[in-house]
Subunit: 387 residues, 2 copies
Amino acid sequence: MNNFNLHTPTRILFGKGAIADLRQQLPQDARVLITWGGGSVKKTGVLDQVYRALEGMDVREFGGIEPNPSYETLMKAVKIARDERITFLLAVGGGSVLDGTKFIAAAARYADGVDPWHILQTGGSDISSAIPMGSVLTLPATGSESNKGAVISRKTTGDKQPFHSEHVQPVFAVLDPVYTYTLPPRQVANGVVDAFVHTVEQYVTYPVNGKIQDRFAEGILLTLIEEGPKALQEPENYDVRANVMWAATQALNGLIGAGVPQDWATHMLGHELTAMHGLDHAQTLAVVLPALWNEKRDVKRDKLLQYAERVWNITEGSDDARIDAAIATTRRFFEQMGVPTRLSDYGLDGSSIPALLEKLKEHGLTQLGERQDITLETSRRIYEAAR
Amino acid sequence: MNNFNLHTPTRILFGKGAIADLRQQLPQDARVLITWGGGSVKKTGVLDQVYRALEGMDVREFGGIEPNPSYETLMKAVKIARDERITFLLAVGGGSVLDGTKFIAAAARYADGVDPWHILQTGGSDISSAIPMGSVLTLPATGSESNKGAVISRKTTGDKQPFHSEHVQPVFAVLDPVYTYTLPPRQVANGVVDAFVHTVEQYVTYPVNGKIQDRFAEGILLTLIEEGPKALQEPENYDVRANVMWAATQALNGLIGAGVPQDWATHMLGHELTAMHGLDHAQTLAVVLPALWNEKRDVKRDKLLQYAERVWNITEGSDDARIDAAIATTRRFFEQMGVPTRLSDYGLDGSSIPALLEKLKEHGLTQLGERQDITLETSRRIYEAAR
């Protein structure tokens, strides 16, 4: 097992009606900016519940954070946060609102005179302060509600890049599975696929004998496989929604990745697809992962075989046959969730691959994967195989 | 799944040499009191390493915290902490040092003129402040390094009681598996059994469809079963020690118990055995658990069957036969670890059972278990069956 430094300080308030405990999580004299996305939190009444919970407090709001939250939009909120001397940010929504709010939190306190896009160019390493934040989560998927990472896009340049900082780790997260009943099936499916791929990016690498980490990762995958399809079929099954929600949080709060190698190449190749072609984040993952696993089957052999056996109960045939079966079964699971797994399913013929590779190069993503051996040439083969 | 409020803020610094990061975890102007136990940290050099890491800082020490840390001993440290205006406590040792230090932390800031034994009488509910603390762990077992609980004994009265408070949750824990190489086999075995029983006390209850919690609990149990015997056979196998250490922390940091029923009757019946007869904590658990499971097999039926299948791969025979096999196999595992599972193995013939029941009654422990249906009469049957 590798050494690690793990800090998971976000308080989780989980369950039906958990918003009742929201108010006591904030400093009572806070100047609060509520952030939200496309308006579904207005339609579903979640935003009203938040306002009722904070009644009498000093509250403003900023709506309209889009999926793949953009620098251009977020900088408007940064201006409000600075002008209004906001002391607490409350993100109400899914991963995009969370990620966008993390950027607002750091950018509002960023060095004077420096363009906050610099945060993305430095991966967050020079953030020294941020406005404290919490969240009311409405979409289980990204795990952003209890980690220190975020991904921000820039429309004018077609960039989509991550940053990390302990300063933007949310203080708390309200997770009420009931809030997810009204999600469109596409978002439910995307969330399950996203959480699934987060898990395998920290698990299907090479073995370091991290037995707790492996067992926990397998537990998350088994839960998503059991509950994901049910979440689509029975949208108001509380326990199913609760299990999906808790699985997504555990998939990316740092726990299963502590002390083990991590990959993340699928995410990096996927980000370029979203930035260039507008595919949903989870769609890009479903497209890239099977192709990447096939390409890297040799260095991932031991863990792919473990995954095949413990997650899918695939025990018959040669090593390669079991790996083939594990990849095919994973692909079928994504497609069962309604998320196609080929570029062609999204109307892409591969002609943009040279441009995608240029973007990877521009972003310095030329040595990806747990062994830094996914070069631009490897990425090209993966994109080609994903057509 | 039940609602929950989960906060796991202890920073974990895990791995060989992790003490290198100790100093930066403390306020640099802290007045530190190092607490330790019977002296093994002196013999092994761990205490020297701590002193070197804190060189130049304002440091005092208090040694001699015994197993089952006693109010009588700890009150001496409380006096030092108050007199010397200590601002940070650093526990160096195992669960007893941790638990004792939690008591010191809370008692030193307890209401003027109130005997801090009141903390135990109120279960910690009226603690409003505590000296911040961290730890360098040398014995994986209790999970105390990253939770808010502690168990304190009082020699003069033969009491052993728990308390809980968020104020005593350690800020950080240094977990270096190498520190555990020199542990006596009995302590290694006790630690594995303790962590195992912590896990099942949060798992073998009744189902609430908490799939992540169940899978994580099973993962901890499987790891302890695989690694526990190896830890005895290969004391310097780093990965084995690392897996046992991480399993013990995960077993009782709040994660697997969030949103699910909990039992803890085995611990409560065990505490009385330790207080009255001086058995090691883990020995009492190994004695009580099989008898308790057999007694409560009906209300625990579903989870005992799940445990039998997923943890021990017991799938043949009637429900009762599988439960019998699961209990017998668990007993064999404890004995394989060198921890006997009958009162008679410790020279006890059961004649103290009436006195043990009196103590349970005195401590208000007359409705134990996840359904509060373990009455004094049930406890009597469990003690009798454990002879």
